[in-house]
Symmetry: C2
């Protein structure tokens, strides 16, 4: 793309000024429509050093109400960020519905820098590209407008700018090592940038090359393209998206109704012995994975009153509190609801070496959100693939991912509900909502069956915990976790 690019013809100053005025007014009008339509806009500004990325953003935001946008500059990843999955620091920056997020460089910069300095093998680079394409597609599929600009200048122009800045005492600091290195290796950089743009140029989130030879002209090109993109996105409200086929290997799963529950029991004596043994072993493994920096994600889903809480407790009892966190997941807060539904989970990703336990998870999308109509059919049908992709991202980062479905039958639930209702100190545990959900048992069962069929990948499989006998379920959970950690620490 960049290599074929033959520049633009800059209009006369008069025309430029007039068009700038028009474009600015258009953007000012659009910000209100975006707000109303709840459309989030992510504007990624990449480009050569000294091409004016920051100053262009600075000019464009002048016309936007400060409540409606944020700007972030890409810095070197912090030590903390380096311990998170590659996409983490980018995903957490996505805008809220109805708002702009401007990024002065983002994931492109990170990847091309690594490629230029041979920090990424060909294969790792390819994986990064796949991650980025999935990330951007997940955003656009979920109603985000993603506008990607690359500010282009020639080697000569860059050299001139560097020299001019260096001559100026007050601006000198603005020339970084990176700018000089780029200029000295311009052709090499051009190659790498060009293939990156080609590789990530998707029709739903295409690249726009901006001829950055003059400031005003740069601003105008960005403004005109941006407002055009917004106009189109506003037209495309409530769009459905083609469902993609799962491409990840799956583990075959039984139907819930085929799982025998009565025989899954353990006697008290064995329980006590095994619990002690397994917890001791888990504690040891926790230390080892902390040192080896293996991140662990344990996801719990299951029927109300199935015994998730007690099960989680038997895990955490064995863990060093500095090395794990339990995330109880309730309905999303307004600021969470205003973003991609995976955002609040990306935000809760542990550092490597740490364990994150989720008491209810992102799978709410294909259970409660599906059945209560909190999202469209297209949304939840697409979600199976989005979750497999999400977990693939975590797996590629090095995470151990364990997903538990805590299973009981309908009668057992009734018994436990009634017990809770009749026991004063347990009454807080039972709500009207629990009873309402219970009425939809069959629909939930169908949804759960579909979920475990479609999202039990080899790298993030589901495990059924038969929990009519809660003790049996606890021992089984501990065994599975211990086994998985032993495997990963081999």
């Amino acid at each position: 793309m960049l290599k074929q690019w033959n520049g633009t013809e800059k209009p006369s100053d008069e025309v430029l000024t007039a068009r700038l005025q028009t474009a600015r007014e258009k953007l000012a009008r659009q910000q209100m429509q975006l707000k109303e339509m709840k459309l989030p806009v992510l504007v990624l500004v990449e480009g050569w050093g000294t091409s004016g990325k920051g100053s262009s953003i600075g000019k464009i935001i002048k016309g936007i109400d400060p409540r409606f946008f944020k700007v972030a500059s890409m810095e070197e990843p912090t030590i903390e960020e380096l311990r998170k999955p590659f996409l983490y620091r980018h995903f957490v920056k996505i805008p809220e519905a109805g708002k702009f997020q401007f990024l002065d460089s983002g994931w492109m910069d990170e990847v091309v820098e690594a490629k230029l300095h041979q920090d990424l093998s060909e294969e790792d680079y390819k994986n990064r590209i796949d991650s980025i394409k999935r990330f951007e597609r997940q955003l656009t599929d979920n109603g985000y407008l993603v506008m990607k600009f690359f500010l282009h200048i020639s080697r000569k122009e860059q050299q001139k700018r560097i020299e001019n800045l260096q001559k100026n005492k007050d601006a000198k600091w603005r020339v970084g090592k990176k700018d000089k290195w780029q200029n000295a290796h311009y052709d090499k950089c051009l190659d790498v940038y060009d293939s990156y743009l080609e590789d990530t140029n998707m029709p739903s989130a295409p690249w726009y090359i901006i001829d950055a030879k003059s400031r005003k002209w740069t601003e105008l090109q960005i403004l005109e393209t941006l407002t055009q993109g917004i106009e189109i996105a506003l037209n495309n409200h409530a769009l459905s998206v083609p469902l993609l086929q799962n491409v990840f290997p799956l583990v075959p799963m039984p139907k819930l109704s085929d799982i025998p529950l009565d025989t899954a029991t353990i006697d008290d004596e064995t329980y006590k012995i095994q619990l002690k043994q397994l917890q001791r072993r888990l504690g040891e493994l926790h230390n080892r994975l902390y040192r080896k920096k293996v991140p662990v994600i344990i996801a719990y889903e299951g029927w109300d009153a199935a015994g998730k809480g007690g099960n989680i407790k038997r895990l955490t009892e064995a863990l060093d509190p500095r090395g794990y966190e339990v995330h109880p997941i309730a309905s999303p807060e307004p600021h969470e609801k205003a973003r991609h539904y995976l955002w609040r989970f990306w935000n809760r990703m542990p550092k490597d070496g740490h364990i994150a336990i989720f008491d209810r998870t992102w799978y709410g999308r294909v259970m409660v959100e599906r059945l209560e109509g909190f999202c469209s059919e297209n949304d939840w049908m697409r979600a199976y693939n989005e979750m497999n992709e999400f977990e693939k991202e975590l797996y590629d980062w090095g995470a151990v991912i364990i997903k538990f479905w805590v299973q009981i039958d309908k009668d057992t639930q009734l018994k436990r509900f009634t017990d809770r209702q009749n026991t004063p100190e347990k009454q807080w545990k039972i709500t009207d909502e629990d009873w309402r959900n219970r009425e939809k048992w069959d629909q939930y069962e169908e949804a759960v069956n579909e979920m475990i069929q479609k999202t039990s990948t080899v790298y993030a499989p589901w495990y059924i915990l038969e929990s009519v006998d809660k003790k049996y379920a606890r021992i089984k959970a501990l065994q599975i976790v211990v086994n998985a950690l032993e495997q990963s620490l081999k």
Copy 2:
């Protein structure tokens, strides 16, 4: 994709039969909705030899009204087709609005076969992939549903099928050389198929891998995916599409109002001499390009009464009638209107060595269709890029592309209109529509300026023919054609 694929679990016969019933009924209902919503559906069935492509299509169409679908089998290209652009034989097969087109193999087969047998260099392969991605994107951008299936079987399964067919006297003929070759080179084929699927797996036209181990199961997978795709596409009616940036190098063009017309004249004597010389030269070149199999496309656009007809005549006078065709382009016929707007032009592509002259062209999209509201704003704004891509396809095929804008001023048009009105034998040449168009002169001028700015690529530039003096315009046209042909025959 294929390589990661780990198959599916085939449901029990009972479940299979029930789901088949449901899916068939759904498709039967959908065909009426498709008809009503005018949605065209292209179903591409690719896959291994003996995987059951043809028989699957055969079963699926049983539920569709024969008026609503067509089936085409990919054959070896005819000699005639080999003389057309690569996409020609595929583009002409796209369905009408509201109808299905099933393809038993298509462009994938053609490209992977060529790659497998080393008939395509790496670079040519990459170009083919780009062409295909643009082709499919142009279809989906213009409201087509494109469903792509790959029928997958293992080497063993294929071998078994080949052996069984060969044992059976009546079925023996169905095993082709190609099937056996594939089976003997299964891994090599798998590699090539896998990269093709990866390379062309776009979110708007994704690949679906079908586990073709059993006939019924194959049919069900296709049916369920197809009906799901249709459901989503029906929801997405009147969708807008992001505008892509032009990636092809452009020639800067003047504004129409900046082109001096008065000084562009020629005296009769010079005209006669030059006309004769140029026509003789053009005749010679026509013979040479016929022998060298260079295709030539000459496109005429211009104001009403600008003198297109007479200009074209001076070209054709010099040509051997067996080697050229003039295509007068009027409003599209109903069967043309029911397809992608470029379809009728793809259909009129010359064979190599031949000249096609278009009297009005595909640029109607950004002039009359734009100004009369025959297409949406998103449609015509997207069209500049679509035309550059279209012409790039022709250029890559080897075509010489010359585009003329025949320019006069408003007064000259008035004079010619009045003259036509007052001269009985010329009255047929002037209609009420001409007068109506004239009232929109300024809007047309703006549209034409935008058009020539945005679509004057280095490989298919616009030339302005100053035609207040028609003779001057004729000589200029002849000179440009002669020069371009000489260049290409060097």
